[in-house]
């Protein structure tokens, strides 16, 4: 009698504790995040609807004027277009490279530790610092890229390309840096995906006679798709919202040709002091992020099912 009652009471105590304990343990995190992310986000929306300038946190309500005037601004248009171009091109390169690299890096091979260290470098190094490295790599006079191209006689000896000084080349340079930086991270996520494929699937595929390309196409790729999508979605968010690379390489120049949304928001909102328009520019990113978020949720759920 007593022996049976005891665990029941304990369970009930636990449940009561749990009802109180769980919210109490989670609350600080929720409050912190609400204050540091939720509140500023709301403030940002409010500011974007006013003509607030630096030095104040309020302004007169101007409706959607900041949004419409930005939409008509040629610099904003360039920034908007560039943000999309950087993001799409860099992520296309990343996903292709990462799927190949991950496929080989899950294997055991001699010297794996060293190779993995080299591959991880671009992800581990602070982006603002490695981009300074690229500033030197793309230097106007001593670029190692140009040195190589000259040695291979691929470019004019006396008039080499100015990687950061010509609009299209600067765009290519920025995209390269983004792709270079994101590749290791995407690879790691893909490795995580490959590692989570159960061994039984492998064995079943073997029994069914699926090997090589066939196995890759019918077994590995479909199973890898959800996690690959997550890698891409992360990649999109990281590229579209990063300011460090453009800030350090070109500051949006030459002549605003490599402008992108975060950079343009910074220059408008902080350097020029137009808080309202600046906030509006940054918020143009929100719909993109919202779509990405929804997709991510859908895929996260699907991964959960498998």
């Amino acid at each position: 009698m007593e022996a049976a009652a005891l665990p029941r009471r304990r369970r009930r105590d636990l449940l009561e504790q749990r009802r109180f304990l769980a919210p109490a343990l989670i609350a600080p995190a929720v409050i912190f995040v609400g204050l540091l992310v939720g509140a500023p986000l709301g403030l940002s929306v409010y500011l974007s609807l006013t003509d607030a300038t630096a030095g104040s946190l309020t302004g007169d309500f101007v409706g959607l004027a900041n949004y419409t005037s930005q939409w008509d601004d040629p610099n904003f248009r360039t920034a908007f277009r560039n943000t999309i171009v950087f993001t799409l091109v860099a992520n296309a390169i990343v996903i292709l490279g990462a799927s190949i690299l991950a496929h080989f890096l899950v294997r055991e091979f001699r010297g794996k530790w060293f190779i993995r260290f080299l591959v991880l470098l671009p992800w581990a190094a602070p982006v603002a610092l490695s981009t300074i490295g690229f500033l030197w790599i793309f230097d106007s006079l001593f670029s190692v890229v140009n040195w190589t191209l000259k040695a291979l006689s691929l470019v004019d000896q006396f008039n080499p390309p100015q990687w950061l000084g010509e609009p299209n080349k600067a765009l290519a340079a920025i995209t390269t840096v983004h792709a270079w930086r994101l590749l290791p991270f995407a690879t790691v996520i893909m490795i995580a995906g490959l590692a989570s494929i159960p061994k039984e699937v492998d064995d079943a595929a073997k029994v069914d006679g699926a090997t090589g390309l066939k196995k890759l196409w019918f077994v590995t790729l479909p199973l890898q798709l959800p996690i690959a999508t997550i890698a891409v979605l992360f990649g999109i968010v990281f590229t579209a919202t990063d300011m460090a690379v453009v800030y350090i390489l070109t500051r949006g120049g030459p002549f605003n040709s490599t402008q992108m949304l975060p950079m343009w928001a910074f220059q408008t909102g902080i350097q020029a002091g137009s808080l309202g328009p600046g906030a509006a520019i940054a918020l143009f990113l929100l719909p993109v992020l919202a779509v990405v978020t929804v997709l991510m949720l859908l895929f996260a759920r699907r991964v959960e099912v498998t």
Partner: protein
């Protein structure tokens, strides 16, 4: 075994070029950082050789004696450590509660917290820079310590949730049966067992702080309050004068230890990642 050897070779043939491309900028930083001023601008010796006066440690000496670099490193470490402490204090209980104590709503909350991590500083720095100025924290490291948990807490909570889920329930239940309270079981049993996971979170949280650029450049303009991610670029590059050797030394120094740590903790990171919201 000839087949194994062929496999090894194939792997190297694919992985090798990737590794070279990805690591090249760091080789280039290293080489540049060891060059004398004279040698640096001698195109004969670019990019693989050393000429007169090289290799030398002069650039490193210059960096530490004639610039505020050491100061920025110290600032970065201070901010990083403070943020790590705040993050752990807030995230460990939350991560545990989300992993064990909460039901359905907890799972939704977990995913929600993770999504907050995707709200970028780029969207928030404008209003936050006004708020920071308003409360008088501009040009102070405290501004960064206050704001960084906004992205480290969601990240850490989510990763910790993954680690806690992988701990067998029986261990804490045994302690509960022995009469320990749940909080006691948490501190005495769960946290010590999860030490490797917690260490992983410490490292990745710290590196998120070192990486951050937007807040650091928007909030801090006084040179002795800067952190490495902004200080090197804004202070060591003056107009058209580039101290390339010193710049490359400055970028290399924080990168290498971080990469070694990443490499050492990568497998645990992957375990936490797949054990978290996506499982």
């Amino acid at each position: 075994m000839p087949l194994r050897r062929r496999d090894n070779l194939l792997t190297w043939l694919v992985v090798g070029p990737f590794a070279i491309v990805l690591a090249f900028p760091f080789y280039w930083m290293l080489q540049t950082s060891l060059k004398s001023e004279l040698d640096l601008y001698n195109t004969e010796n670019v990019p693989f050789f050393f000429g007169e006066g090289s290799p030398t440690l002069d650039n490193y000496r210059f960096l530490f004696s004639d610039t505020q670099y050491a100061h920025w490193l110290l600032n970065t470490v201070l901010v990083g450590l403070a943020v790590v402490v705040i993050t752990l204090v807030v995230s460990m209980p939350a991560g545990y509660a989300l992993a064990r104590l909460s039901g359905r709503w907890g799972q939704t909350l977990g995913v929600g917290l993770f999504l907050v991590y995707l709200v970028p500083p780029t969207l928030l720095f404008l209003p936050l820079s006004r708020v920071i100025a308003e409360v008088g924290l501009q040009d102070r490291l405290a501004s960064l310590i206050l704001v960084y948990p906004g992205f480290t807490i969601p990240f850490a909570t989510w990763l910790l949730m993954g680690f806690f889920k992988s701990i067998p329930r029986e261990l804490e239940e045994a302690a509960l049966v022995d009469g320990a309270s749940r909080l006691r079981a948490l501190v005495r049993i769960v946290f010590p067992i999860s030490l490797p996971g917690i260490l992983t979170v410490v490292i990745f949280t710290f590196s998120l702080c070192v990486n951050e650029f937007v807040y650091a450049i928007a909030f801090i303009t006084r040179s002795d309050s800067k952190v490495v991610s902004t200080g090197i670029y804004t202070e060591l590059i003056r107009g058209d004068v580039f101290y390339w050797g010193a710049l490359m030394a400055a970028t290399l120094i924080p990168s290498i230890p971080l990469a070694l740590l990443y490499n050492a903790f990568l497998d645990r990171f992957i375990a936490g990642f797949t054990g978290g919201a996506f499982r």
